[in-house]
């Protein structure tokens, strides 16, 4: 939540500020390689994008990728499922829309406040909910998401109900952000920054602690890890980041409906994480790309999205439960040996 903003300044200078010692070169390459590659990819997309529509898709992928990375920290690393993340996305989107359109707040302030609010909500409900395991956690998070969805659908005076809500075009430093081409750079920067921070996080001691949460409680506790606190804070961070991108998405598209908060949206987010690879930051980006493009690629199947999603979920879980990126990486390693 707040570390998003704090992070901006040092993040851009950090790779330069810490020149890699010679012996660390290989390590730095391994660590920074994917970040640089992602940066290059982000820089190259506008050159090959043939139309405004392609740029629109790129922006959507970027937004989803950030959410998938944040959700992957919770689901893939810490092993805690959430079937309610669309609810947090909607808090960001509706929070930003309501605060700016109904109460005249500056949109960016509304965005920040609603992201923090989502983080605080997750923090408050996280302690009791995250004590639950497996199916019960899935059901509890699903219930939380559904309640958020129902509130948004029913409080018509505030949210416009099923008809949705409009947001006016965001202007930053005198620049009207009125096209996918402009939003692309903003979303691209957020994605790159999130990617870098997520990689750092999973490489740090806290990353190990998160991975230990996936195992038996007795193990993590015997290593001195405060299980509840660590689950709760990663849940809160993930919720805040998801809300932030929900808000960014709302400001970008200029129109939101409760559909963005519904159960299918939560499933899509989970699908991104599982398909790309649980416990892989890069996998989350790949998963976001595939799930976002899937309906476009399969336009003739647009009425059958639930069938297609369902089949993919089952096939992935049965044949490559670790997801695309880790499975591919494993195969490559095996091949090299």
């Amino acid at each position: 939540m707040t570390n998003m903003n704090e992070a901006v300044a040092p993040a851009q200078s950090a790779p330069i500020a810490t020149p890699p010692a010679l012996k660390l070169k290989a390590d730095s390459l391994r660590r920074l390689g994917p970040v640089v590659a992602l940066g290059l990819a982000i820089a190259l997309v506008p050159l090959i994008a043939g139309s405004a529509y392609h740029m629109h898709m790129a922006v959507m992928i970027g937004i989803h990728a950030v959410i998938a990375i944040s959700l992957n920290l919770l689901v893939g690393y810490a092993g805690q499922i959430s079937l309610g993340h669309a609810g947090f996305m909607a808090i960001g989107a509706y929070g930003t829309a309501i605060l700016s359109a109904r109460y005249g707040w500056p949109p960016l302030l509304g965005l920040g406040v609603s992201s923090i609010a989502a983080g605080l909500l997750a923090f408050a409900v996280g302690r009791p909910i995250l004590r639950l395991k497996g199916y019960y956690l899935a059901m509890a998070t699903l219930g939380l998401g559904m309640i958020i969805y129902l509130v948004i659908s029913n409080e018509v005076w505030l949210t416009g109900g099923p008809d949705g809500m409009s947001l006016s075009v965001l202007t930053v430093f005198g620049i009207e952000l009125d096209s996918a081409g402009k939003w692309y750079w903003i979303v691209g920067a957020i994605l790159l920054l999130t990617y870098w921070m997520a990689r750092n996080l999973v490489d740090a001691p806290i990353g190990r602690a998160l991975r230990a949460l996936e195992g038996p409680d007795a193990l993590a506790a015997s290593a001195g890890i405060d299980i509840s606190w660590n689950k709760v804070r990663i849940f809160a961070v993930s919720a805040a980041l998801t809300a932030l991108m929900g808000g960014v998405g709302a400001l970008y598209s200029g129109f939101i409906t409760p559909k963005s908060a519904d159960f299918m949206q939560s499933i899509e987010l989970i699908l991104m994480v599982i398909l790309g690879g649980m416990g892989s930051v890069f996998g989350a980006v790949v998963g976001a790309g595939i799930v976002t493009m899937l309906p476009q690629v399969l336009t003739s199947l647009e009425h059958y999205e639930s069938l297609v999603y369902g089949v993919i979920l089952i096939l992935v879980m049965v044949f490559m439960p670790k997801g695309l990126v880790p499975t591919t990486a494993h195969l490559i390693r095996k091949f090299r040996r």
């Binding site: 497996g134 019960y136 059901m139 219930g143 159960f263 439960p321």
Partner: protein
């Protein structure tokens, strides 16, 4: 007073629907410790098949039988195609797999019948019964009766038949059950089939009073699960009582003004119960969930 009584009667009918669906959850959970997120969709499939058979010109009893058997077949397929290949997967993969199965069932139904709303005629006429100034639809008596019958049959099945005991053994310790000569895979297959059958029974029984459509499974499935958890998951009578509590609460809430949030009650209840009463309202069963 009449108003209150009417709400209670309506609530009991709605609640027994939830209870009937909850029984399917409990059955599958008892046998394989899987929470089948597709349970609500199995119920929807049963209702849809029955409607299709009736539309094809066959009589209602045939439609009912084919619909329920269709649910059983869907349950078998679900186990064979998705659960068994996943092997000894943990809860997280199984959540995803059964969710995937729910989406597949929904997708297939949409492919064949679209997203329209369908219903069956009532089993024994539509003429409402007046009782103490309260209106009762005959079909709700069918639902109540079926629910009670299913509880009795299931309780007998698990307590007094060899197969039932074999299923329980499979659920408690699959390895020991295998050593005792029980084919645990077949037991689980049987339970998913039975779960599908039960779901479809619910789907067919409620199709005359509530519409059946491709998306209905999600909400009804969730409410069935809430009912099952209320009853302490694992306990057939508890599941039905949980369903009744949920149904009456919902009807009261919408009757006295909060109808917009009728559907939210189940989710609020599930959060409250999971957090504060992890063993359910009746929870004698030693289910670990925290």
């Amino acid at each position: 007073m009449t108003e209150l009584l009417q709400y209670v009667i309506t609530g009991v009918t709605v609640g027994s629907i939830y209870g009937l669906i909850a029984l399917g959850f409990v059955l599958v959970y008892n046998s394989s410790h899987v929470i089948n997120f597709a349970q609500g969709d199995l119920q929807m499939v049963g209702g849809m098949i029955a409607v299709a058979v009736l539309t094809a010109g066959l009589p209602l009893p045939v439609a009912v039988v084919v619909g329920t058997l269709g649910g059983a077949v869907a349950g078998f397929l679900l186990y064979k195609a998705a659960i068994e290949p996943a092997g000894d997967a943990g809860p997280l993969p199984l959540v995803v797999i059964t969710l995937g199965a729910a989406l597949v069932l929904r997708g297939v139904v949409e492919l064949i019948w679209g997203r329209g709303y369908y219903s069956l005629p009532a089993f024994s006429g539509d003429e409402a019964i007046q009782f103490l100034g309260v209106t009762i639809v005959p079909q709700s008596l069918w639902v109540l009766g079926l629910t009670a019958a299913v509880v009795v049959v299931l309780t007998y099945f698990f307590n007094s038949t060899k197969t039932g005991k074999a299923i329980l053994a499979t659920s408690i310790d699959p390895d020991a059950a295998t050593l005792m000569g029980i084919n645990t895979r077949r037991m689980k297959l049987l339970c998913f089939g039975l779960g599908g059958f039960l779901g479809a029974v619910a789907g067919v029984a409620i199709a005359p009073i509530a519409f059946t459509y491709s998306m209905v499974g999600l909400m009804l499935g969730l409410k069935g699960f809430v009912a099952a958890v209320l009853g302490g998951l694992g306990n057939f009578k508890g599941a039905v009582i949980g369903g009744l509590i949920l149904g009456v609460t919902e009807t009261m809430m919408s009757g006295y003004g909060a109808s917009d949030y009728k559907d939210a009650i189940a989710f609020l209840l599930i959060l409250v119960i999971l957090i504060f009463m992890p063993r359910g309202l009746l929870g004698a069963s030693g289910v670990e969930r925290v």
